[in-house]
Symmetry: C2
Subunit: 418 residues, 2 copies
């Protein structure tokens, strides 16, 4: 336990050096990291091959093996991502507001790094470089606690990044890999309230709940994305069909994929048979309520659990609703505060939907798949928050900073004078 504290303290000291780097130096460092990663490709791929062998021996499934796998193309993608972060605007030092008070003091709100961010994640080694790049660009240190399957890969990546850190005059500990993967060590890390400023868990719901349960440091997280498409009575049905197919089929394993379709009863008879045909052409299974099953053949009856489910698969729950209000009530009961979409031509219906729901992302006539940091203009994404605090929805660089106050005066006092 003392070891993890010492590790975190060393990262915090290094983070101060990151915080002091000017923008140009940070960007040059990130580009240098990209070059270094490619130069170290043989060592990284060798470490990854060892991880893959061990994972296969443990009988780990194909899906996880694929997440774990690195190759030249994927490593090039990781390097590109580092260069993209270098090209993003630097949030640190950004003055978001300026105000001169009646007494003449000038008050500025200035973005400042959080300090030390702990990332808790599972098998994907590309997260190691991505998260490090975002945390560093925002002036932070990062403690990376990944899955045991990826430890060799993660250490090889961090060793490579560390060379570029040191060339920039920053201790390599600014990117710290936790090698001791015991659960109690993770819990100790999550309780270092005087050192760690934020923990971001990414992975399955089990991991995230474990982190939320044991952390004493602030945690930003999302458990799941039960995203809805509501097709209003006023919808352009061709447009709605496009949103439906893109939302469900283009990447079913993503948290911004659609899981539930709600259709207004006025257009259900017109829309649902077409929707079923289009979805089934992509291999999607439909589970529906009675009204849906009256309109479409061979729909599996949906249970209440179906409406709570994040399938992450080619399955969709369907319900016919009598009104916009009924759709809103359904989403309130079953939603996960992630992303909801309305297809509607009627602006009043769209506004009512936007106003009534307080999910992190609410879309009008656009695909749920845009609920992503890159697509929404944040540049890159460190995670998605459904915690209604600090950041809500996709989190970019700004979410890795906080605004402090800088005040300049000419000797103003509040009550007393000398």
């Amino acid at each position: 336990m003392n070891d993890i504290r010492q590790l975190a303290l060393t990262c915090r000291d290094a983070a101060r050096a990151v915080a002091r780097l000017p923008t140009d130096a940070k960007n040059a460092m990130l580009r240098d990291m990209a070059d270094q990663l490619l130069a170290d490709a043989p060592a990284i791929l060798e470490a990854n091959a060892a991880d893959m062998d061990a994972a296969r021996e443990k009988g780990i499934g194909e899906a996880m093996l694929d997440r774990l796998r690195l190759d030249d193309a994927r490593l090039a993608g990781v390097a590109d991502a580092l260069r993209e972060v270098a090209a993003l605007p630097d949030p640190v030092g950004m003055v978001t507001r300026r105000d001169t008070r009646p007494n003449g003091i000038a008050v500025e709100r200035v973005r400042t790094p959080l300090g030390v961010v702990a990332m808790i994640y599972e098998a994907r080694p590309n997260v190691t470089a991505d998260a490090a790049a975002l945390c560093l660009k925002a002036g932070n240190g990062v403690i990376l606690r990944g899955g045991s399957e990826a430890l060799r890969s993660n250490m090889a990546i961090a060793a490579s990044l560390g060379k570029a850190l040191e060339r920039a005059g920053v201790p390599a500990a600014a990117v710290t890999i936790v090698e001791d993967l015991r659960r109690e060590t993770m819990v100790a890390l999550l309780q270092l309230t005087d050192i760690v400023d934020l923990a971001i868990p990414r992975g399955g719901e089990g991991l995230i709940r474990f982190v939320a349960e044991h952390a004493r440091v602030p945690v930003i997280k999302h458990y799941k994305g039960v995203c809805h498409l509501y097709v209003d009575a006023s919808a352009d049905l061709d447009l709605a069909l496009g949103l439906l197919v893109d939302g469900k089929v283009s990447r079913p394993s993503a948290c911004n994929a659609l899981e539930t379709l709600l259709v207004h009863s006025d257009v259900a008879a017109q829309f649902l048979p077409r929707a079923a045909q289009a979805l089934r052409a992509h291999g999607v299974e439909l589970r529906g309520d009675e009204a849906t099953r009256g309109l479409v053949a061979d729909v599996v009856p949906a249970t209440e659990a179906d409406y709570d489910a994040e399938y992450l698969d080619l399955v969709i729950a369907v319900r016919v609703v009598g009104s916009l209000d009924e759709a809103i009530a359904h989403i309130r009961r079953h939603g996960s505060d992630h992303t909801e979409v309305i297809a509607a031509r009627d602006p009043a219906a769209a506004t009512a939907f936007v106003d009534a729901l307080r999910s992190a992302v609410v879309m009008v006539n656009a695909s749920s798949r845009f609920s992503d940091g890159g697509e929404l203009g944040l540049g890159a994404e460190i995670g998605i928050s459904t915690t209604r605090l600090h950041a809500y929805g996709p989190m970019g660089l700004e979410a890795l900073t906080v605004e402090r106050f800088v005040v300049r005066g000419e000797g103003q006092t509040r009550n007393l004078h000398r």
Copy 2:
């Protein structure tokens, strides 16, 4: 435990009605609350008198009795505060950024209420109305868990506010007082992660640590304010003296009062005797290092504990430092991330101080006593955060909201088309 869950659920439902109120209706409701509080003055003062009697019987000290006491003047102050909140700009619905993406989708960041805020506080019944007003204005419900000494006063205030809530069409449960003051009930409240969006503890460090330890909902807090004034070698010493006296003497019990004075050795011989004379004229006790005691007679020797202390009293710790860097190192070791002040004419020294420290508020040539929501232009303050997340420093209405994404398109899809 089920009772507190039910209470919180009822508050959450009421909060939805608050969130839907247009700005004008919220402001009218807050002004109506001010009128209602004054109309209910007899009942509120009677309840307060009963609280005062019980507190005296329990042998509670004068300082706490004074915090507990309400009278006509104080109640008028509370009513005024409600009217001031009514006059503040409404953060809810504010569009902070707009961006049209290359594919044509329009992305807005829109301020939205947090939902349900739990305030945990001690004996001051004015907090009940102040916190309720700020939470309501930001579109939230509030659960108020005050101290047992003030329960009758708090209930009378909430009953009065509830009348105005109901006249505005909002269930009175939008302002919910917890009457069951057992610690285990507070713990249960702090673990309602699916209902309570934020807990704000205000009070002594013991209460705040208890909340931080037991909460599973997000907590924003500050433990203490160990605020520093550093008098640089370049300082205007008259100006520095003004900041020192105002910071230490004008309200020693405030968290933004100065607790430590650091003086550059180049000006210590000139400054410290004058400083000691001015402070002692106001009854301040000085505790200093050896160098200070060499320059000023009868200074109590300071221990390391003195430099960590939040005295909240007419006592100040003093140290002579050899350089700006030494001052920064001292503040890093002993500071509480609350408020630090530099008195300096040299802009390079001021900038170095501002850049090196990441306290919530850093001041150049201005009194630490301005570290307050009202003084910094936030209008009013629900608390102060030294948690480097969501809000950092004084928290106003905006800190009771979060930005969500609202996206409008014309059928754009990310990958697939129908």
